[in-house]
């Protein structure tokens, strides 16, 4: 075997991404921010990205390496884990998107800390760390199961990007027997007492569970330290062991000339009525309240399932009076969440579930459709480990208050928790719209309505029954249940038909050739997998196609000059903001 250069650096590292080495061994913040390249508003950058999360950060990093001039607007701060984050549940509220939103429908979805990120790194800053792939079936549920919607791409289109992103995060876990069987670059992490109990129960019940997959380095990985198993994954990893774009893609992006403009909220995408192309994005500097306009040859909206539709719907013009990309009233529709009921079980021993990362072991035995169950599609089961406030919400949801609540809380260390991720189906009326009130930036507040269908209810009920059965087999002494949701996807789905989708298979808005959407909102279905890895893989694929010019980012009408990046071959990277033409 030939030893490549990477081996001499102490670990196997991904190609084309030096983020792990660009981080500092002794500090957690991203180095090099002070020498980050700056563009002027009037510079027409090659690509302006809105949102620095799983989609936007990967897209920026890839295209910067291909020589594109990229600016990323991010509503939240540029986090420094050393100085901005604490090892505390209640003290981490600033990690979440807490601007006002209205939730409605018959089964409204809680937002905020449950699923909405804020700041450089996006929701992955506070996700648990589970990074399963989608199954091949997820891309063709309409054809296979008669529900949902077929993606315009297949699993095989994403597979190389799954592999690449798994090396970049990196993902640790046992060999994965479900979906398209595959292995992970890092070995599985040790598990805590609660997961040991769950595993024994599942095994006895005939349910296969495996350790991982989690995006937490297990061993040397550049300058990122090993996990210390403190259990605060959902509060932002102060260690830099858990992957988020802040540590996995932003350092390399900055090194390759990306400007990340934090504390900047996009309020409107500007359109040239004559050509029908977008020309830039109006944004407000959160700290000063000043509105500015960044010019760009192309724009990628990467704001996730609530904010991407909101920005498109708010960007109205004579040509698109219902908002950009919304000619066929598709923007904001088919938003999905996963049914994430959790069942806790009580055991004689002290399990102390607050130790070890909350994501430990999971099962995809129930992922695919089984006609015998009486509903389409399925669910996965994962261990979760609520900290005290999360545990209190769990106890309350089971109907306990006063002295009973306190008693179950005192019993905290005896409990283990299984959570489900049920694939709930895309429905047109589960949608984001603009509410009749404005926020502090003069932008209409988003409203998200959600109602389950019968298939959804049957799926959730079956998952709950399965988790109860596992715990009973495990010998649980008592059980407590909470019904909840997790994750967000959909809202700007990709498709093969402009009348039933918002973007094509290259993430391009059907009616607007230089406008792209690249985040969780593009997913037509959600599987029973946590979405982060798939969002990154989609961004990786899009970048691959744009950089390889298999997709043109801008279609030049006669009067339009050539794309800026093609003209900048002689412009030096340090000679920052000289206009390219």
């Amino acid at each position: 075997m030939r030893l490549g250069g990477n081996h001499f650096l102490g670990s196997v590292l991904p190609r084309g991404n030096d983020s792990a080495f660009l981080l500092d061994v002794h500090r957690r913040g991203v180095p090099g921010r002070e020498r980050m390249r700056r563009f002027r508003d009037e510079d027409e950058v090659d690509l302006l990205i809105v949102g620095c999360g799983a989609g936007g950060a990967v897209l920026a990093q890839r295209l910067a390496r291909a020589g594109w001039r990229v600016v990323v607007l991010e509503r939240g701060p540029f986090w420094d884990p050393d100085t901005d984050w604490v090892s505390d549940e209640e003290g981490s509220q600033h990690l979440y998107w807490t601007d006002k939103r209205i939730v409605g429908g018959e089964d409204p979805v809680e937002l905020g800390k449950n699923n909405s990120g804020h700041g450089v790194g996006g929701s992955m800053v506070h996700y648990a760390g589970y990074t399963p792939r989608f199954h091949p079936s997820d891309f063709e549920t309409r054809t296979r199961d008669g529900v949902g919607y077929d993606w315009p791409i297949s699993y095989s289109d994403l597979k190389p990007h799954y592999e690449q992103v798994e090396r970049e995060l990196p993902v640790a876990g046992q060999h994965w027997p479900w979906g398209d069987p595959h292995s992970y670059p890092h070995a599985p992490h040790p598990i805590g007492g609660a997961a040991e109990r769950a595993w024994a129960g599942a095994r006895a019940h005939g349910v296969e569970m495996r350790v991982g997959p989690v995006a937490i380095a297990n061993g040397v990985f550049g300058n990122r330290p090993h996990c210390i198993y403190r259990g605060f994954c959902l509060q932002g990893c102060k260690v830099n062991a858990k992957a988020s774009p802040l540590v996995t893609h932003v350092p390399d992006a900055i090194e390759h000339g990306v400007e990340i403009r934090a504390d900047s909220i996009a309020v409107r995408i500007e359109l040239d009525e004559a050509s029908g192309q977008v020309t830039g994005v109006a944004y407000v500097e959160v700290k000063t309240g000043c509105e500015r306009l960044q010019r760009a040859a192309a724009v990628a909206v990467c704001g996730y399932s609530i904010e991407s539709p909101r920005l498109l719907l708010h960007s109205t013009s004579k040509r698109f009076p219902q908002g950009l990309a919304n000619t066929h009233d598709q923007v904001g529709r088919y938003v999905m969440v996963q049914g994430a009921t959790q069942v806790a079980a009580r055991f004689p021993e002290l399990l102390r579930m607050y130790k070890a990362p909350p994501p430990e072991i999971s099962s995809e035995d129930f992922y695919e459709t089984d006609p015998a169950r009486g509903f389409a599609r399925g669910f996965s089961i994962q261990t979760v480990s609520p900290l005290p406030i999360g545990w209190a919400e769990h106890v309350l949801a089971d109907g306990h208050r006063g002295a009973a609540l306190r008693e179950y809380m005192r019993d905290y260390n005896h409990w283990a928790v299984l959570g489900s991720l049920c694939e709930l189906l895309p429905q047109p009326n589960n949608r984001v719209t603009l509410a009749g009130e404005n926020d502090q930036f003069g932008m209409p507040v988003a409203r998200f309505d959600y109602t389950q269908c019968d298939n959804d209810r049957a799926n959730i009920a079956f998952a709950k029954k399965t988790m109860h059965a596992i715990w009973e087999t495990a010998g649980a002494q008592d059980e407590l249940t909470i019904d909840r949701y997790a994750h967000l996807v959909g809202g700007c789905r990709m498709g093969s038909d402009p009348e039933t989708s918002v973007i094509d298979s290259d993430h391009r808005v059907w009616e607007t050739p230089n406008l792209f959407v690249c985040d969780g909102s593009v997913m037509p279905t959600q599987g029973s997998a946590n979405p982060a890895l798939t969002i990154m893989a989609l961004a990786s694929r899009l970048a691959d196609r744009l950089a390889g010019k298999r997709v043109q980012a801008y279609v030049s009408p006669g009067a339009r000059r050539r794309p800026a990046h093609e003209l900048r071959s002689t412009a030096s990277r340090s000679g920052s903001s000289s206009p390219a033409s």
Partner: protein
């Protein structure tokens, strides 16, 4: 009666009531817990604070040492809501975690949770309406206010609130169950972010930068408190409690 926590016979659903009398638990010997009882009488997470990062230490220690003054609620609202918080958290004796002070601080600072149910007012308004509603419900039972009502009545109203059964007056402006969820979110966050509550339940507290090394079933770090097993807190404590 000695209590062995390996058995579940102290738990509410197993017993079919509110759970075992916490007065039978051992008195806290190190540090504080709310009402000074708990499972881990010799564990005080604050003793570990020198192992926490500075930002977290300041934040957590401040919860004990600098209780914020009320800025959002009026005195009357505060009286009603303090009584409500005590009932819903079964804080029936000192020392109490000053839950409402933390809720007040959050609301006064405009730090809301990022979503508002359609048809419901702003969370801040919801809190004020709940205070009025609790007083109205207490008055309809002949009490002067919620805080002045007998404890049984307070508990009854609290339970009706939890089950979405309060109606009339102010409650017509609120979806009762939604209001319960808005209020309880903040109440639970305030109580279970307090280190005294962590002592009571045996939570390790902030663990950065030290982390954990002993993860398996029944394992603990050297500094983590053991559960009080085979102790006999019963006789003495029971006699001291008023009937």
């Amino acid at each position: 009666m000695a209590r062995d926590f390996r058995e579940p016979d102290h738990l509410p659903k197993v017993r079919g009531d509110e759970g075992a009398d916490p007065g039978e638990l051992p008195r806290q010997r190190r540090g504080s817990t709310p009402q000074m009882h708990g499972r881990y009488p010799d564990y005080d997470c604050l003793e570990q604070s020198e192992h926490w990062d500075e930002l977290t230490r300041k934040l957590v220690v401040d919860r004990v040492e600098h209780v914020p003054e009320l800025r959002f609620f009026s005195d009357a609202e505060a009286a009603t809501l303090t009584a409500f918080c005590d009932v819903v958290l079964a804080q029936d004796a000192e020392p109490r975690i000053p839950v409402l002070a933390f809720v007040d601080q959050k609301l006064a600072g405009g730090r809301l949770d990022g979503y508002q149910y359609a048809g419901m007012p702003d969370d801040r308004q919801t809190w004020r309406l709940v205070a009025r509603g609790l007083d109205e419900s207490a008055r309809s039972h002949g009490a002067e206010s919620y805080a002045a009502a007998p404890i049984d009545r307070q508990q009854e109203i609290m339970s009706a609130f939890a089950q979405g059964e309060l109606s009339g007056g102010v409650w017509e402006q609120l979806a009762c169950k939604r209001a319960w969820s808005v209020v309880m979110r903040s109440v639970l966050a305030a109580f279970y972010s307090h280190p005294w509550a962590w002592n009571e339940i045996g939570f390790g507290g902030p663990a950065y930068p030290r982390g954990y090394a002993r993860l398996g079933i029944g394992l603990g770090e050297a500094w983590e408190g053991g559960e009080a097993l085979d102790v006999d807190p019963g006789a003495g404590a029971k006699q001291r409690r008023p009937a």
